[in-house]
Structure formats: C-alpha cells, structure tokens
Amino acid sequence: MPVDETLSQFSDWSYTTAVAVYVLAMVFFLVEQSFGRKGRQAAARTRDERLATASASGGGGSAPVTVLTAKGMTTGASDPSREQRTRPERLGRMGVALTVLAVLLHLAALVLRGMATSRVPWGNMYEYIMAICLVTVIAWLVMLRRYPVRHLSAFVLLPVVILMFVGGTMLYAVAAPLQPALQSYWLVIHVAAAAASSGVFLVPGVASLLYLVRARHERNPASFSRFGPRLPALEVLDRIAYRTTVFAFPVFTFGVLCGAVWAEAAWGRFWGWDPKETVAFVAWVVYAAYLHSRATAGWRGTRAAAINVVGFAVTVFNLFFVNLVSAGLHSYAGVS
C-alpha cells in the first residue's frame, strides 16, 4: 500500500501545532498554579466535603421526612463557579480550552498518519509515543471533570510535551508500511492496549509524585514551603492515582496477555524473557504491589505513592531503554 505524502505532511504539521499549543496551555496553567487561589481552595474544599450537609433528594414521596442528622453524605449545593473568578483562574480555564484544542490537533495528527499509511498509526516509536501522549492528556481531562485539580495540569503536560518533543525530533520516522512481523491484527489490539495503559499510567505517576511532595511538606512544613500548600489534599491525589491505576492495570494486563498470544504466533513462543517482556513483567508486578500496598496496613499513603512512582519509572524505562538501547525482538522502533 503506497504512502500518501500529502496526508503525512498534514499529520506532521498538526503534530507540531499540537505541541506548541500544549506548551502555551502549560504556561497558562503554571500562572494559575503560582498565583491562583485555586490550590488552597481545593484543599479546603476536600476537607469540607466530609462534613457536607445532607440532602435527601428524590421525587415527591408519600410520608414527610425530617432529617435529623447526617454525615458522609455529599451535596451538590455549593457551586464554586459562582464565586468571583480571579485573573489566574481565568487563565486556567483558558488553559483547559487550549488543551482541548491541542488534543483535537493531536488526534488529527494520529488519524492522518493512519490514513496516510493505510494502517493503524502505531507501527513505530514516533507514532507509539504520539498515541501514548494523547491517551495521557485525555485521561487527565477526564480527571479534571471529577477533581478540583486544574491548576496541576502543567505537571501532566510537562512530561507529555517532553515526550512529544523527543518523539518528534529524535525518534521521528517517515510514514512507511509495516514490516512483515507487524502485519497482524494483534498489532491493533496489543499495541492499542499497551499505549492506552502506558498513557493512563502517566497520570498516577505524576499524581503520586505530587503526593510525595505534599506528604513531605505536611511532615515538615519547611520543605516545599511555597509549593506544598498549593497542592491539593493528600486524599485527592491518592484518589486520582488509585482510580487511574485501577483503570489502567487491567488494560495493561490485557495488553500483556494479547502480546503473549501474538508472540506465540509470531516468534514461536508465548513468553521468552525478551527485554520488553521482562520489563513489562516487572512493571506489572510493581503495579500489583501498588494495589496490594493499598490493602496492607502500614503501606497505604506514602509507600503506596512511592511504589506507583516506581511503576511510572519502569514504564518510561520500558518505553525508551528497551526500545532504543537493548536489542530484542521488540525493535520495531523504526530508528536505526
């Protein structure tokens, strides 16, 4: 199947623009993080949530009810958006709008790549990193809808921008057809699962890092004295990390499983301790340890967060070191 040069060119432009818009959005978020009151508010609000008032909603029933006491019930009554917005907050909102724009460009770059080559757009490392980063930003946007953490967006966008920069410069690969080993529908399933889970794993990685910073600050207010208080409460960071990990872990497991099935068809064995397989195994065990640690007394909190950061490090290691440095069967990087 010939490669459509024009579409490929549009894809490249779209990619570059997306990175530029991400950088701009990052600047906006940094302003909000540094000067906005969002950080402190966020922390305060999570504390309040636990003491929130009760509201027993529901359509007109029969008997009149008087609620005497309630606890642990949430309410949607207080709406922070009605409070007056400061300039940094407006910038933060613009940052979100820019991020959404960049996501659209990013998505366009990926789709155009696929159309240019008439195949799934994750056949080499450049494309793979592009896909991972897209998943990360989308996952983060979903988190933004649930938790008051907008001002932290810059910390998620930073690794994304770095990855995309490295991908777009050092690892860039010209649009080309797939080598025979990759011509399989398992490429669609296995790599999609791997990219989706790696992309999502970036979010708990960042959240857990911030957790460690905040925990350190709470133990000793002198360390990170300016930065620490602007982070949300530990609970919020822990919840973000847990929710995203719990989503990504089964997807990752599925990806590894599909990889094994594919390896059986392509390489003659379903598992052979190829470097990529080994590091995937290590990452899997680390994330399993994370899930265990949250169910083990004395390991919740800081230790769990540290484990998640290790998992993040292993994931990045798997992405770069194993593809670029070691010589394994997974050397589809397309950078020779």
Binding site: T53, A54, S55, A56, S57, G58, G60, G61, S62, A63, P64, V65, T66, V67, L68, T69, A70, K71, G72, M73, T74, T75, A176, P177, Q179, P180, A181, Q183, S184, W186, E235, Y242, V246, P250, T253, L257, E264, A266, W267, G268, R269, F270, W271, G272, W273, P275, T278, V279, V282, V285, V286, A288, A289, L291, H292, S293, T296, W299, V322, S326
Partner: protein, 543 residues
C-alpha cells in the same frame, strides 16, 4: 497444618520434649504466618520484580549464547563472577526460583484460608446491624410518618440485588442489613488461583516443551521431525530426550520476499507442503502458505517461518574432467541488505587415500551480495532483493579439518588451519552469475546461480493452552475484583411511641460502610438514602 495442630494438642509423655517440640512448632507456625502475610507477599513481589530485571539488562545465555560469552570475556573477573552467580541464566537461577517458590507458598497459604472464609461469609449472609449506626462513616437519622413496615418494604424494594437479612430487635425495633459486592472477593480468588495455575503450567511447559531450528532450501527440500539430528539446533525441555517427537514432514517448494524500493521488507512467504498423522502412511502432501505470523499447526506442533537467506551454487570442474556442484546456505551478516557470508566446501573426487584427499580439499569462502555494488574491489549489497547477485570469494586449498572432531561452522573455515599453513589461499576473485575462476592447476570454479533458503522453527509446548486458560481466568478475575465494589447498608426503624414526646413518628436510621474504595461510596449512599426517605428535608437542617 492439620498435622501440626493435632500433634501439638496430644498430651506428651516425655519430660522435657514437649517444650522443645512446642517451641519448634511455634517457630514453624510463626514462619508460616509470616510467610503468608500480605506484607511478605508484597516484599516477595518486589524481590521478584527486582530479580527479573537483570535479565533485561544483561545478555541471557538462553536467548543469545554467543553474545553472553563475549560479554563475559569482555568483563573479565566481573563477568565471571556474574556468571558464577547465574546472572546470565536469571530465569533458571536458584535465587529467581527461590523467590517465586516462596511466593507460591505464600499465595497458597493465603488463598486457602481466604477461600474458606469466603465460603463461610457467603453462607452466613450480611452481618448484624451495628448497635450504634452513628459511628459509621455514612449515617443518616430521620423521622417519617410512614410505619416501620412501610419503611422496610421500601428498603427491600430499593435494595434488590443486595443480599439482605431482617432482624427483630428489642422493643419492636427492626433492622435490615444489606451487603453487595460478593463478586469482588470471588473475582479476587479466581485471579489468584489463576495465577497459581499459570505458574504451575508455565513450569511444566519448561519441562515438556522443545524447540528446534532448521534451514531448508526452498527448492523442494524436505524436513522431517523424526529425530533431533535433523535439526541445526535443538533446545529440549528438561524432560525431553528427543526420542519421541511428534512425527510430521515439511517440504519447502518456494520462498518469496517482497521489498519496497528502498529495501524495507513487506512480506515473507513460503509455499510448503506437509504431512502428518495418517498422511504419513498414505503419502499425501497438503499445501500450506507459510508466512510470518501464520505458523503451520500440525501434529500438536507449530512450524514457523523465522528467517531466510541465500545459497549460492558453485561448480568445480577438476582438471581430470570431474564435476562437482554444491548449493550451500550462506548466512546473512547484515539483515537489511542481506549481504551474506559463508563457505562452500569440496572434497576432491576420486581420491581414495584419505591423507591426500585431505590436502586437496577446496573451500570457497567470502561474501555474497543479492544486489551487488563494488567500491573498487570491495563488494557490498545495496538491497536485500535478488536483483544483481555477485560473490567476492577466496578459494582455499588444503586441509579443511572438517572431520577433525571439533565441530566446525558450516558458514566458515577453520582459521587455525590457515594459521598453521595447512590451508592456503589460491585465488581471490569477484564473480557475477556465470563467471568463473581458473586455478593454476587448471581447476575451474564457476558461480552458477543462487537458491533461497528458509529457516524454520518447530515448537512443541503441550501446556500452552493451559497457560492461556489460566491467564484468561486471571484477567476475568482481576476485572471483577477491581470493578466490583463491596458495600454495606443498614436500616434500623424504631416505631413511634404515642406516649413518648420524642418518638411521635417513626425514626429511621441508615448506615453505610464501604469495604473497598471508601471514597466512592458517598454519592451512592446519598442516592440510596434519598430514595428510602423519599423527601427533601423540610428546612430540617442537618449538622
């Protein structure tokens, strides 16, 4: 375990023995408890991850023996030390096995009690309503005009799908306990049992599987899985001695590689025929189109197309008119251009004296390029496809020492013979197809053409279906154990007592407890409570 317990409770006749026995038993019991605790599992998991890592960083003998050997050589004492510590055979090393065996023990020790506990919990139903519901993380206390029976009826309806139990308490107070999410624990058990099964099946696979590689010329040459000697290399599991291989035969009729203009491969395909089972007797051959990602599955084995290469054909015409033709596979030294290396070896014909025959052996050795380009006299290849083949060869005459016990690569000559002066170069030439060299004694050597060969791998692993089954079970269990949430919900209704000022209306108390993922329960509890109480609070402001 049962054994230990019964022996401990038996009264002991001896004097000092019991204390020592008891102490030993206590030690065993404590070790067991320690080993099966969650914290130990966690530490073992970490150790396992850590222990697996060197396998990704250091070359592994099982995957690449020659790279391993040169790594050890390069790193001197350090390499030898790592070797002694089994760092080049990580996955079969003592320490790696020890960790995962301990993890298995821990897993079993953890699963058995959890399974029985789970079954007991399933049978027992939801737990009693706590005396003080206000202590729970989620709690509402409200008054209603509905009767207790109405409240409970509503609750029963709303909590359909939960397991519920109703109980009578003192003074007409009634309560309902509800619990949901039993599937989570079931999924968790399935996951862990699946993992156990997977590890066992994996270990068995390592014992009963085998793998062999063989190069077959794509000109109708046959290969039969009748013995290990048919393979170029054979890697048996611990319990495989190579005597009872599944019988089948494969014949490679044609091999085809397709490349883009710049030499990127697009497709490798081989037309083969095979026979197995009854076909072996009847002599029937069945066709198969062998491709990367499309192995042939027959007789419980799989046949893969792993690689390919070229086999140049040389003809030697001796001065006395004798002609010998050979087509021997050469080995690609550069996968992207398929520049290949090899040695095609000839015995002199008609020489019976073994001493003299050995001195008259010939070897044609050097480089082969499928698409030749010459930089001066240096041959390179510019494309992996067979567009313009040429060879750059040295013709060596003398003693090849092929029979001399030491196994010799078919792709090269014994350099020590060259150094000893017993093998001499008699010509060096670049040849295109059809060209020939004439040696001083009148022997003519011609390069006649090129064949292709395919390298096949045969794999046998009787347990891999089991591994897949357990892996799928693990995945399903994992999904259930992470997605299902365990929640408890209690309702306690205290009927109105007309004579009591405080209790003119029915008092309803609701309590909620999340057994997992605490954070998510708030909203859900609010919704259920709202449905049960049916009404907005009328100014009745809560704390």
């Amino acid at each position: 375990m049962t054994d230990t317990v019964s022996r401990e409770s038996r009264p002991s006749p001896a004097g000092h023995r019991p204390t020592r026995t008891r102490r030993a038993l206590a030690f065993v019991r404590n070790t067991w408890r320690g080993l099966t605790s969650m914290r130990t599992a966690l530490v073992l998991l970490f150790l396992l991850a850590l222990a697996a890592l060197p396998g990704a960083l250091l070359p592994q003998r099982e995957l690449n023996a020659s790279e391993t050997a040169s790594y050890i050589e390069e790193h001197g004492w350090w390499g030898r030390l790592l070797d002694r510590l089994q760092f080049f055979d990580v996955y079969s090393s003592v320490w790696f096995s020890a960790i995962y065996l301990l993890l298995m023990v821990s897993l079993v020790g953890c699963l058995l009690p959890r399974t029985t506990e789970y079954l007991r919990a399933m049978r027992a139903g939801p737990v009693l309503t706590p005396r003080n519901l206000a202590r729970l993380p989620h709690h509402v206390r409200a008054e209603t005009d509905a009767t207790p029976e109405e409240v409970l009826a509503t609750a029963r309806k709303r909590l359909r799908g939960w397991r519920t139990v109703e109980r009578e308490e003192a003074d007409g107070v009634r309560s309902l306990s509800a619990e949901r999410g039993y599937l989570r624990e079931a999924g968790n058990l399935v996951f862990h049992f699946g993992m156990l099964g997977l590890i066992v099946a994996f270990a068995l696979g390592a014992m009963y599987s085998y793998e062999g590689q063989v190069i077959v010329h794509a000109d109708g040459q046959e290969f039969c899985n009748s013995g290990t000697f048919n393979y170029d290399s054979f890697d048996p599991g611990l319990r495989v001695d190579g005597t009872r291989l599944s019988p089948f035969c494969v014949r490679v009729n044609d091999f085809d590689a397709t490349y883009t203009g710049v030499g990127q491969p697009i497709a490798y395909e081989a037309d083969i025929q095979y026979q197995s089972g009854a076909d072996l007797e009847s002599g029937t051959w069945r066709p198969y189109h062998l491709e990367v990602n499309e192995p042939l599955r027959t007789a419980g084995d799989r046949v893969y197309l792993l690689g390919h290469g070229y086999a140049p054909t040389f003809t030697v015409t001796y001065p006395d008119g004798d002609v010998r033709t050979k087509t021997i596979q050469w080995r690609p030294s550069d996968e992207t251009t398929m520049l290949s290396q090899g040695a095609t070896k000839f015995d002199p014909p008609g020489v019976t004296d073994s001493e003299r025959r050995r001195e008259q052996q010939l070897a044609i050795t050097g480089l082969f390029a499928p698409t030749a380009a010459f930089h001066g006299d240096i041959l390179t290849s510019t494309h992996p496809g067979l567009n313009d083949p040429a060879v750059a060869v040295d013709v060596m005459r003398g003693e090849l020492a092929v029979e001399a016990g030491r196994s010799q690569s078919i792709f090269g000559i014994d350099q020590s013979m060259v150094e000893a002066g017993r093998l001499e170069r008699v010509a060096r030439e670049n040849l295109r197809v059809g060209e020939e060299i004439t040696l001083a004694d009148g022997t003519r050597i011609s390069f006649d053409g090129v064949d292709q060969w395919a390298s096949l791998q045969v794999s046998h692993d009787p347990t891999q279906v089991w591994v897949l089954g357990f892996a799928v079970a693990m995945f399903v269990g994992l999904g259930a154990s992470l997605a299902v949430k365990r929640r408890r919900f209690w309702v306690r209704v205290t009927p109105a007592a007309p004579d009591d000022d405080d209790l003119r209306r029915t008092v309803v108390e609701l309590g909620g407890l999340a057994r997992t993922d605490q954070a998510g329960y708030g909203e859900e509890f609010t919704v259920i409570a709202g449905d049960l109480l049916h009404r907005e609070p009328e100014g009745g402001k809560a704390r």
